[in-house]
Point group: C2
Chain length 367, copies 2
Amino acid sequence: MATYRICVLPGDGIGPEIIAEGVKVLKAAGARHDVAFAFEEHLIGGAAIDATGTALPDVTLEAARVADAVLLAAVGGPAWDTTDSSQPRPEAGLLAIRSALGLYTNLRPVRTFPALADASTLKPEVIEGVDLMIVRELTGGLYFGTRGRFHDEEGAGADGAPGQRAYDTLEYREYEVERIARQAFELARVRRGRVHSIDKANVLDTSRMWREVVHRVAADYPDVELTDMLVDNTAMQLVANPRQFDVVVTENMFGDILSDEASMLTGSLGMLASASLGDGTALYEPSHGSAPDIAGKGIANPLAQILSVEMMLRYSFGMVAAADDIARAVAAVLDEGWRTGDIRQQGTRADQLVGTARMGDLVVERL
Amino acid sequence: MATYRICVLPGDGIGPEIIAEGVKVLKAAGARHDVAFAFEEHLIGGAAIDATGTALPDVTLEAARVADAVLLAAVGGPAWDTTDSSQPRPEAGLLAIRSALGLYTNLRPVRTFPALADASTLKPEVIEGVDLMIVRELTGGLYFGTRGRFHDEEGAGADGAPGQRAYDTLEYREYEVERIARQAFELARVRRGRVHSIDKANVLDTSRMWREVVHRVAADYPDVELTDMLVDNTAMQLVANPRQFDVVVTENMFGDILSDEASMLTGSLGMLASASLGDGTALYEPSHGSAPDIAGKGIANPLAQILSVEMMLRYSFGMVAAADDIARAVAAVLDEGWRTGDIRQQGTRADQLVGTARMGDLVVERL
Ligand SMILES: CC(C)[C@H](C(=O)O)[C@@H](O)C(=O)O
Ligand SMILES: CC(C)[C@H](C(=O)O)[C@@H](O)C(=O)O
């Protein structure tokens, strides 16, 4: 029997609660498909800062490197919020592991669950049948460019008086654009054959290079239809007509913004999973954050975490049947009316409003 | 009788068609309030490139400087689309005039018109009563930082092979953040007393400085409630719960993306006006683009342009009654059922589906 090693990173806030459900579902799915998983838990984010002074301890990174896959929950919280750039930040741990593992492709599938159609603030006829994949570049751009803050003796204050300046650099290299574009076109090929490439080529030099490289790659995929769309227009089109999209490929910061927006098509950010892929170990995490306001209450929605387990089975282990089982189980639980607070609807029965652990159990029962 | 000089910049695409309606309404409003307007038309954008080789000819900038206000329509179109950074671009003309006139404050009011409630893809109960003001910083950030593209002998291609690199710089100075923050707090004071400041302080150094400066300014406005919100979360919250917002202040690129998204709350980008204010002449333009696909057909919606005239009367000339008249006239036209194609609804009568010029006439008749 195959045994895969899973590096488990609960992180902060609701992280420990939801990741327990991910692990539960992973174990159950493995048992049904004759695969064993060995779990090793490590610190990241605020929890790691508190224990070790750094958001990504070496031992965590090493464990991630040698694992067959990483399951992460979420990092961050008000306890570590600071505008002081010299202080450690939970988010830096997340960025560091993405970068160190070379996870340049972030996949965020946005699919509407029929059972949740009326949980969205968008009209049911607008979101019906939405099924898009955001392909976000994850190890470049503003997130990883040179940045700094300094005091400027002249020019930074009003009328040239002394004052502070700050900068961040949005930088891309040709091969970084090329490899993420290829991922998008490959995906489109096994999906509905359409790629929207998002940029701000009417203003940014990085976007102009992005657009050129994407078009060069497109020449290798004559069967895929490519559309360029400006990021501001895309923010509008995602709400105006989301069904036009199949694969949406974009740089890091635009992808961050657009994927959170797109989550609203599904009714809740609590439903959105993500896979971060590179050349080594892949990492799976919900698209949502650590929700410190509801941490420890046992009410967080574990479905994005569970769906990230689904992505793990699919992309890291080629366990397509097991992944499909999880997707089906989640849909069944929703169809039966079970809800956590964030996706509760008008018609939700009080006895079907459930907590984190119960939601995990319900999915396992339906596997 | 006072005479104000208006610099009229039609630009490209639908620009000439819609600006004619703006001018028409401005004349009519002036006549009713004993104010005369003198109009001087100049080239900008693609039209200027074709005629002069540059997107912002000196004569245009000079005319704008000496005018009492600038009315602009829109620039850009596929005829001038290129990823070659050495070629002139229509958008560069727009950015250049914003910068040269020091128009650091861009106001984009997002209000839902009851008559258009069902033109939005969002549910009526979600957008009912939405009334928010996006205060976008307009002369800094990624739009105006150093940028470049170059060929790198090592490191830019895969495996360190030669290849291209490109970069854009997101830069802010302390006083730039301070002055836009002040504008936001001043506005909140005469509105509903709430400011959301949008940043990405968990990643960017510019955002950390932004957040610190905004909080320092906030100390002068104890009567205004300040909330920090991350840009990704904001993209979600605008769709999830738009009524929570009153004044939303943010840097240039985030403001570009979020304001296009927010336009969907009103049912159409064709309804969104904007005012760009600085220390000299102010500029008024629709938030939408030049819509080359429908240019020359006489079917474009002129209402955003007409509402930008409303903003001109209010902010540049203190003509509050005249501005209110225009707002009322637009609402009346919509209430009566008149529609251009972009805001047409299920119940729109065929004889009430009108073109650009007729829509302008309808507004004038109701002044
Ligand atoms: C926590 C934060 C640094 C992160 C990001 O911006 O990438 C998050 O928003 C995400 O989308 O995964
Ligand atoms: C045309 C373009 C350069 C411009 C911008 O990005 O500022 C437009 O999108 C806007 O919002 O006014």
